[in-house]
Symmetry: C2
Subunit: 641 residues, 2 copies
């Protein structure tokens, strides 16, 4: 009993702690060198982006450094992606900024110098990071709850067009939020519906207050970053090393800023004082949780959606397996735990994963090594970051989102492959930039499902079987005469409430196209679209070469091949029974072939009597029985299935 429980615990750990798999089998010789180089490169990127995303989150930049330190450690224990560097991320930062700016607006009544005991930061900054950690905590809790509900399997509702569109839209929103830093204009925090457009409108109206020095600095940074990264990418093979472009840029601009004293001379905003060291852990303010529910859900879903895409991409590229649900647990726990260490919401990011690819990282050890470097930065280099201009950080953010913004090029692909997906992409993008990433994602998923449902309801439900090919042998045995009245129709789709009516309509229309229509009902007027039944006749060769058989008194036969009917519901069964009855009334026997045993049972419960002999194992058996019974002129001794 005791041993049994121990076994269960062990099995659970084995399943839910991927670290137990990869760590013991880690090949030091093959991977460590590559991982160390990649880790060092990643740490530079993490420091720059950490500072930047913390500013984007409306909290003090130092918290971005913590956000690059703790989450990767938790993820390495629970996560399965090998190139997934979790840390602060543009889209989730933007969502949590909404909560921070709403609950702790900058003009709140704080005395400027009321320094709290933590790191020498003001109460105002501590209030703000408190809200951000509350969002982190709640988002993580929701992700863990989703893991418990096995929601990871619902990722099939997040297809590529929706994710691509949402991330592109969110990247647009992040770029928009950086406009004020790039242009150097003072702008209030603008959010809410159509916020993106209001920001551009505000910038346009205040075009005169643009600081040219700042704008130049930004443009220069962006150009340098883009060009150097591009060159780096192109000549990677030759020079065998990746230049730490961000690090170079940060050092040069900081030095330039310090030497020219730009902060005071030109009023160039700089990062300012970065405290050194890590404060003791502190629980996020639980009383704020109720106020950040919407943001929490946004973080949980959007962060997960963006992360799982990257994890799956890495798994596909390097041929290993990632469990969607396990990823939920990993990201949930890394959010929950890191929220106790003053971290803003974290998730995987495309730029970091791309960096790991191009630096040749092999495993998640690269992320752990980068954590080591970051720890060094936190304890030693805080003061060196003082002179880093904000506009350089903004440029790093914008260039970091290049990959996401480039997804615009996917539009051509979608247009060529499926115009409907193109429309979904465009609409989701518009909704995302007009509202927010979480609204856009929700819209995209719901709209996509709705489109899928409409497509299912409109899909082709039947196809006439080409008897010549299918039953080449049998057809020869039978005289032309007895086949005159047999039609074989294949049900190509499951029958359920979405398409059952269409199925009946299609079947009727197929008979209508038959030239030998006999009016059976006198109750017709122009208003009536009810299709009249008629004895079906030979459907040889896709119903094309009919020889308009004369209306005969013999009973017609319709064979329904149900092999494509992989499932059904009550509506589907009742439509089948209805068709059976309608055709029977009009002297057409309907035979069912290749039915699931559950379908046979359901049809019999719904009114088809077993003595009717309408179920057969295959088309050929049904045809044999028809032929033999035609010969005997009676149907009583059919081989029933």
């Amino acid at each position: 009993m005791e041993g049994n429980r121990w076994q269960l615990v062990r099995r659970w750990c084995w399943r839910r702690l991927p670290v137990l798999h990869w760590l013991p089998t880690y090949d030091l010789k093959a991977n460590l060198a590559a991982d160390t180089v990649a880790g060092a490169m990643l740490s530079v990127h993490q420091v720059a982006q950490g500072l930047a995303f913390a500013v984007l989150s409306s909290v003090h930049p130092v918290f971005g450094l913590y956000g690059a330190l703790f989450p990767p450690i938790i993820y390495a224990i629970f996560g399965m992606g090998r190139h997934v560097a979790t840390a602060a991320f543009g889209i989730t930062s933007l969502i949590s900024a909404g909560a921070v700016e709403r609950l702790v607006p900058p003009n709140a009544s704080f005395t400027a110098n009321s320094n709290s005991s933590v790191l020498g930061l003001s109460d105002f900054e501590m209030q703000r990071i408190g809200i951000a950690t509350a969002v982190t905590f709640l988002g993580g809790i929701i992700q863990v709850a989703m893991f418990m509900l096995n929601a990871g399997s619902a990722t099939l509702l997040l297809p590529e067009p929706v994710l691509s569109s949402m991330t592109t839209g969110a990247a647009t929103n992040v770029v928009t939020s950086q406009v004020k830093y790039l242009l150097g204009i003072k702008m209030p925090y603008i959010s809410g519906p159509l916020g993106t457009f209001y920001i551009y409108a505000y910038a346009f109206n205040n075009i005169s207050s643009v600081r040219l020095e700042v704008l130049l600095f930004s443009l220069l940074s962006i150009v340098v970053l883009v060009v150097l990264k591009q060159l780096n990418e192109q000549f990677k093979e030759k020079i065998k090393v990746v230049i730490p472009v961000e690090l170079v840029l940060m050092i040069t601009t900081s030095v330039a800023c310090y030497c020219a004293d730009m902060e005071n001379t030109y009023g160039l905003p700089v990062v300012g004082h970065i405290p050194e060291g890590i404060p003791p852990p502190q629980a996020p303010p639980m009383n704020a949780l109720a106020d950040v529910v919407i943001e929490g859900f946004g973080i949980a879903v959007v962060g997960y959606a963006a992360s799982v895409m990257l994890a799956q991409g890495s798994a596909k590229k390097f041929n290993y397996y990632v469990d969607d649900n396990q990823e939920l647990l990993a990201h949930g726990l890394s959010n929950v735990v890191s929220s106790f260490f003053f971290c803003i919401p974290n998730s995987a990011a495309m730029a970091r994963t791309g960096l790991l690819y191009s630096c040749g990282a092999k495993t998640q050890v690269a992320c752990l090594i980068s954590c080591g470097f970051i720890l060094v930065v936190i304890y030693t280099m805080g003061t060196l970051l003082y002179w880093l201009p904000m506009c350089v950080l903004a440029s790093i953010i914008v260039v970091g989102l290049k990959g996401m913004l480039m997804q615009f090029c996917d539009l051509k692909k979608y247009w060529n492959v499926d115009k409907v997906d193109w429309v979904i992409w465009v609409l989701t993008y518009v909704v995302t930039i007009s509202f927010a990433a979480n609204v856009g994602l929700f819209f995209g998923v719901v709209f996509n499902i709705a489109v899928g449902v409409v497509r299912v309801t409109r899909a082709k439900t039947i196809s006439l079987i080409n008897m010549k090919e299918e039953n080449c042998k049998i057809i020869e045995d039978v005289q032309h005469d007895s086949f005159q009245q047999v039609k074989i129709v294949s049900v190509t789709t499951p029958l359920f409430f979405m398409n059952a009516k269409k199925f009946k309509g299609d079947l009727m229309k197929m008979n209508k196209r038959n030239p030998a229509i006999i009016k059976l009902s006198e109750d017709t007027n122009e208003f009536e679209e009810n299709i009249l039944l008629n004895p079906v006749s030979n459907g040889v060769l896709n119903g094309e070469d009919f020889k308009s058989p004369p209306p005969s008194a013999t009973r017609g036969i319709l064979i329904l091949d149900c092999s494509g009917m992989t499932f059904f519901d009550y509506t589907g069964v009742s439509i089948l029974v209805q068709i059976y009855m309608d055709f029977k009334r009009n002297d057409v026997d309907v035979l069912f072939v290749h039915c699931l045993s559950s379908l046979i049972k359901a049809l019999q419960h719904s009114g088809l009597k077993p003595e009717d002999h309408v179920f057969f194992d295959s088309v050929s058996i049904a045809l044999d029985v028809i032929c033999s019974s035609k010969a005997c002129s009676k149907l009583s001794d059919q081989t029933e299935v």
Copy 2:
């Protein structure tokens, strides 16, 4: 130009005014007698139910009589159902009662005798009917808007199990609301979530205040109604007449009540003063519309859902055609117009349609004739209704809902046919009785779609084609050897985001079942569920009698028959390309057969080069090409499609 426009108007009228079809061709001789008898019977029923449903709507009983007069006239002009008697209806009355009780509660400060000029009714009563007409008006406007959006075609989202469950639940709610009249206890208006249960709890707690006379009266009425109606139904064929049970009951109980002066002696609540005549039309209070939006939507959707089911039932029974969207227009207009005549929300009702069936009504003329009788009642017999006991009205309501409550018996049917539909029925019922009809309907529809989506994602996606049957001729021409490596798989479903991943998994699993698995990747551990690819081998006879072919250096061939793939989206196409690439890497050529031309285009845009020669018109052509190329030992001269 002018004539053209005239033509358009004429054509529109012809399409949208069914009265132009049925009235000129009305066969007086054949139908008038039957319709008159049915109309007379219907009018009795309409008067009784009209009074009852007005009370249920929390308005003065007289307004129920108007509600039985105006709507059928409008419906006869625009509607297509021949046995659809529109008037006040239990479920919609209960919804509008919610608005009335919320906005004009009984303890509002009205001086009891402040009679308004209309019909001598108090201001309080006029306020209440004002709210009810506002609900009617808004519900009608929403229905007309739905007509314009062509929402009638969305009725396929209202399958029978959902409608049956919602109406049963709503009928339960109506019966519950009549408990106070049946037991004769005074009870405050109880609504909101779990209201049904609170009402029973209240009645149980106040069991001592039940008036035994009232309870006896109710039980007697119910028993008499049920028994007489049952007898009527059974001996209809013999006695050729339908006894107006309600009329008999109303007259006897009124007389008894009057003679014994029960109102004063036993405190038996009676209907009271019913004013005679019809007041001049008056617009519903437009300022109340904003307050009744939820109820308006409830009326529009629930009323329509219940009505269209009955119209379709009549159409099916008497073999004529009903346009779902036209019904929306008819019900919408009958609500809008009648709201100007002090009418409570109206819709078709199962009890009335059943009555029309059993009285042998032929066309909608029966309803028009009943309007004539009701007009007579309104102008002459108001005072005679004074002594009608309320508990008798409640009994009439309860017995009138018998048909809906009997839908409980459908449960067995659903259980036998499809257990999932059974679950949907039960859950929708529980939600409906716990909350309200509109909530229940919404839940049912959404839950049903969700179940449908899940079923689609889990449906079988592929089937191995039995080559022996399919290609009996060709297979003989080919040596066993060259077929060793060919497998034909049929895609049985559209490929889109809901099932694309499953499709790939199924295809991989099908190969995994193959005994000759060759490990191609060394990166395997227990965690890995990624299925390894292997050269596919012969799938003859449903993959059962493999003879474990030795791993050979020759390329395998997988033929994908895409004839079942009736539509696709970007996700589906990219999965197909992925499969093509994965298999190619593992020395398996994938050929596509029976593709839609749009699919071929999409696949070529996604990376399949036209020079690969992978598209074929049919399986046999593909096999021919394979054989001939095997013979020549090269694939260069394939017949490409």
